[in-house]
């Protein structure tokens, strides 16, 4: 049920992001989704890619600090209230969203939302109860 996300520490410097994506390009890694969180001094780039190991190896070799985190990928219906169907049951149960980002599902008419929760296990079981579709890691990497 989990999707492995890699995260990279970046200083706020011109061209730094392009260096990361160039490294991934040269390693033959394809990016499925990404988000960049930033402060005035630094940022954290979070990526879902098709080949985590290759991405991590290539980035570490170039001296980047790389972390991995489990997140989940949930399908969000492309209708008003689609996101609330997911968030409301979690809110009732007191599950906190650390961050989230979305990308369009190339295989359907919906969006895929990546969530990082403070309590991943409970979030998964709540979403299962509500029959929210959660996409397996393999399937996300190979979209």
């Amino acid at each position: 049920m989990r999707v492995e996300q890699i995260s990279i520490f970046l200083e706020n410097k011109a061209g730094r992001l392009a260096e990361v994506t160039a490294i991934l390009r040269d390693a033959g890694v394809n990016i499925r989704a990404l988000s960049l969180a930033d402060t005035t001094d630094f940022g954290v780039l979070r990526l879902i890619v098709n080949n985590n190991q290759a991405a991590k190896d290539a980035l570490k070799k170039e001296g980047f600090t790389v972390g991995t985190t489990d997140v989940i990928a949930a399908v969000v219906e492309d209708t008003p209230g689609g996101l609330n169907n997911i968030l409301d049951p979690l809110t009732i149960q007191g599950i906190n969203v650390e961050y989230m980002y979305a990308f369009a599902n190339p295989r359907g008419n919906n969006a895929i939302m990546i969530f990082r929760f403070d309590d991943l296990e409970r979030a998964i079981s709540i979403l299962n109860e509500k029959s929210i579709e959660i996409i397996k890691g393999e399937d996300v990497y190979n979209l």
Partner: protein, 434 residues
């Protein structure tokens, strides 16, 4: 009259040397009898005070270091019983033990006399009003200058540091003619005055006597232009006495006269401990000749400078030390607080259980020193959540404030972001241009 003690300050060098030897021998006898640390260190070097028969023999005596003072914390270096101590000062801002120094009544009087000489050399007379912006407290600056000013007979305003706006009102209304303080604080004061619409051109200052931190000729030019006064440099350290160990004369403004009837200065090669001749640059070492409570023998100041024996236009015969050009250790003075990179390292390791690469960057923003600690982020510290990283920065900053008493901004950087010079990280970047 700008020379306070004509007899001693202009004494022919031969006579001065004779006094130095007599006083040195008496001091050595006293510390040997009363301070176990010195007795042991003399014994280890297989000498007794009686072996010191000439000034050159001083080179046979072992050095004293800051670590020795810490090891004898708080009172074990005192050479008189506590009942004879009338004042205690301590150095600021080091982890673990500060260095504690004591003074007898006579020491306070000696110190006041040397500060009176210093103020006079810097242009003060008994008719002057002195605005003393050195901090009063454990730090020797405030009280040291204060007693000297009273000894000289000047009127002293004990304003201390801080409360900058009130200081400017006092400067305008009380019309002080002599200004004393740390150069960086004085420049800050000048800026606030400007903001308040008070021009130093309209104030009454004639001379400024600045010290307790390193400054440069460039800063002197800036201070003199902004403050409309003549600025002189003063040197001292609590381990040796406090301010008033050496002073620039306002006539030459070229090097600081060391009061050699009270202190013997030496310049040594910091690596080998060998003595260097006049003119050569090395580490400054001091021996006190008249102190009772806290005599100090061959104390390594870690300050790098050279000595100039050439006669001075002011008439003083005492040797001059040039501006301190650096330190043999990597100590930084940030807003008057001593900071060693190793202290930051120990905080990073102790409280965060990591041995990261780090770098201290010191800047001067609006004439106040700022410290930024750059820490390379490694996987153990890294988190995908921004708030965790920001909390890490805050935690380190809080620890540094708590342990060292200095505010630091923490900046996480990428691995290898800190420049390595021959494989070794560059620990300190000082951008202050002083």
């Amino acid at each position: 009259m700008s020379i306070y003690n004509m007899d001693f300050e202009t004494m022919p060098r031969e006579a001065l040397k004779a006094i130095q030897l007599t006083r040195l021998q008496a001091t050595l006898e006293r510390v040997y009898a009363n301070v176990p640390f010195y007795r042991n260190s003399f014994k280890k070097a297989k000498i007794t005070p009686g072996d010191i028969k000439s000034l050159d023999d001083i080179q046979r005596i072992p050095f004293t270091t800051k670590q020795d003072l810490r090891d004898n914390y708080p009172y074990d270096m005192f050479a008189v019983p506590m009942e004879n101590i009338v004042r205690i000062h301590a150095s600021s801002g080091t982890t673990g033990r500060p260095t504690v120094v004591g003074y007898t009544k006579r020491d306070i009087d000696t110190w006041a006399g040397l500060m009176a000489r210093s103020l006079a050399a810097g242009g003060a007379t008994r008719g002057d009003i002195l605005h003393n912006a050195y901090g009063y407290g454990l730090f020797t600056g405030g009280l040291g200058v204060h007693y000297g000013a009273e000894k000289l007979g000047a009127s002293v305003i004990p304003v201390s540091g801080g409360n900058t706006k009130r200081q400017i009102v006092i400067m305008r209304d009380f019309k002080p003619t002599i200004l004393t303080g740390t150069p960086s604080y004085i420049l800050h004061l000048a800026e606030i005055a400007e903001e308040m619409g008070v021009s130093f051109k309209d104030l009454s200052f004639k001379f400024g006597i600045f010290g307790a931190e390193p400054w440069s000729e460039k800063m002197r030019e800036e201070l003199e232009a902004k403050l409309n006064l003549k600025a002189v440099d003063i040197y001292g350290l609590s381990e040796v006495m406090g301010p008033g160990v050496a002073i620039e004369c306002h006539e030459a403004q070229k090097g600081l006269h060391i009061f050699e009837d009270h202190f013997i200065p030496e310049i040594i090669n910091p690596d080998t401990g060998e003595n260097l001749p006049y003119g050569e640059t090395g580490e400054l070492v001091f021996t006190s000749l008249t102190k009772e409570a806290f005599p100090i023998i061959r104390y390594r100041t870690r300050d790098i400078t050279s000595l100039n024996p050439e006669p001075c236009i002011c008439g003083r015969t005492h040797v001059r030390m040039n501006r301190v050009s650096g330190r043999t250790d990597d100590m930084l003075i940030i807003r008057g607080v001593n900071v060693f990179p190793s202290q930051i390292e120990s905080i990073l390791m102790k409280t965060h259980d990591i041995q990261p690469h780090y770098q201290l960057v010191v800047d001067r923003v609006d004439n106040l020193d700022t410290l930024t600690v750059r820490v390379e982020i490694r996987e153990e510290l890294f988190s995908d959540a921004i708030k965790n990283l920001q909390n890490l920065e805050l935690k380190i900053s809080k620890d540094i404030k708590e342990y060292l008493g200095v505010s630091a901004k923490i900046k996480l950087v990428e691995p290898k972001a800190i420049e390595r010079s021959q494989g070794k990280a560059v620990r300190v970047v000082d951008n202050r241009n002083i």
